[in-house]
Point group: C2
C-alpha cells in the first residue's frame, strides 16, 4: 500500500478514537504480531502512547527485550486476520506467513511495518516503570506513515467476542473542539 | 434514564473501543464535568482504567484531591454538549447547569452520575505515581450502570477538530475472540 509521511503532531487523531491495532515487534531474526485494544494517547508531541499487553504474549517478551515496536492500524477488510492474529501465538510460528501479511522494513526501528494496514507508527519504548505492576509500556512515536484515504478510515473498534464497531461514518459538531 | 447494574467483568467491553467520555468529579459542594478521549483499560477485574487529563483542567484538581470520579459514556445525541463541555471551564461556572445535564447521586463515590449518559462507571483513584510525569491516574471501577439498549450504543469517538466516528454499526468476525 502506497504511503506517505504523517505529521507526528497529528498522530493523536489516528489513535484517540480507540482503533484496534496490530503491534509488530522483532528481535534478532524473529518477528511477531499481536492484536491490541488497550492503548491511549498520553502526549501530543512528541506523541506518547501507553500500551498494555499481557505478559503471556510472546510479543510482550519481544517488546521488553527490543524496546521497539510498530503500531499498525487495520481497517475492516482485515477483520478476520485481526481476530485470528489475536487467537494465535507467534512463539512457534511466523504470524506474517500464517496470516498472509506483508512485512516491510521500517525507517527508525527494526520491527516491520504491516503493509496491509493503512497507518503505521514506528515506536520506541521510553518508560518501563509500570511494566511490572500493570504491563504498561510508554512508547514514543518516532515516525508515522499513512495511506492517502479519500474517506475516514473504516477502523475496527473491538467491543468483545469478535464484535467490532466500524469507523468510517463521521459526524461533526457545530462548535469545534481542537 | 433508567439504568441497571452492569457486571464489572464486562466493563472492558464498554471502554476498549475508545468512546469519548465525560468525567464527573466533586469536592465539597463543587461538581464538575470534563470531556476526555485519553483512556485505556488496564485490567479486566476488578476493572482498572488509565486516564490522562491536562493539569490545566479544573477537573484535574478535583480528581487529585477527591480521588474519585465517574466516567460517563455519552451517545451521539449528546455530541454538541460533549464538545461544548470540552471548551468550557468549570472553575467559575456550574457545568451541569451550563450544559443542562442532570447530576444524580452515585452509590459508591461522591461525584455525580450524568443521567443523560447511557453508561456510568463509578471509580476511585488507586495509583497516582504517574500523575506528576504523565498526568496519568489509574482508577478502579467500583460500580457500573447501564441503560438497557436494544442496539449497540451510538458512542462518539473523537478524531479531532470536533469530528467523531459514531458507534452503532457492528460487524462480527466468524472466528470469535474473547
Amino acid at each position: 500500500m502506497k504511503k506517505k509521511n504523517f505529521p507526528l503532531a497529528k498522530v493523536f487523531s489516528l489513535m484517540q478514537s480507540g482503533p484496534t491495532v496490530m503491534v509488530s515487534t522483532a528481535l534478532k531474526d524473529k518477528a511477531n504480531i499481536m492484536t491490541m485494544s488497550w492503548h491511549m494517547m498520553m502526549e501530543f508531541e512528541p506523541p506518547l502512547i501507553g500500551i498494555v499487553l499481557s505478559e503471556q504474549n510472546f510479543s510482550f517478551e519481544l517488546l521488553k527485550k527490543s524496546r521497539q515496536c510498530v503500531i499498525n492500524i487495520p481497517t475492516v477488510e482485515l477483520m478476520e486476520k485481526v481476530v485470528r492474529c489475536g487467537n494465535l501465538s507467534g512463539r512457534n510460528r511466523d504470524k506474517f506467513k500464517a496470516l498472509a501479511l506483508t512485512p516491510l522494513p521500517a525507517e527508525k526501528v527494526s520491527a516491520p511495518l504491516i503493509d496491509e494496514c493503512y497507518a503505521n507508527l514506528e515506536c520506541k519504548v521510553v518508560d518501563t516503570r509500570f511494566v511490572n505492576k500493570y504491563n504498561l509500556f510508554v512508547v514514543e512515536v518516532l515516525k508515522a506513515w499513512i495511506a492517502p484515504l479519500k474517506e475516514p478510515a473504516k477502523t475496527l473498534h473491538h467491543l468483545g467476542g469478535g464484535e467490532f464497531l466500524v469507523g468510517g461514518k463521521t459526524v461533526k459538531a457545530r462548535s469545534k473542539k481542537k
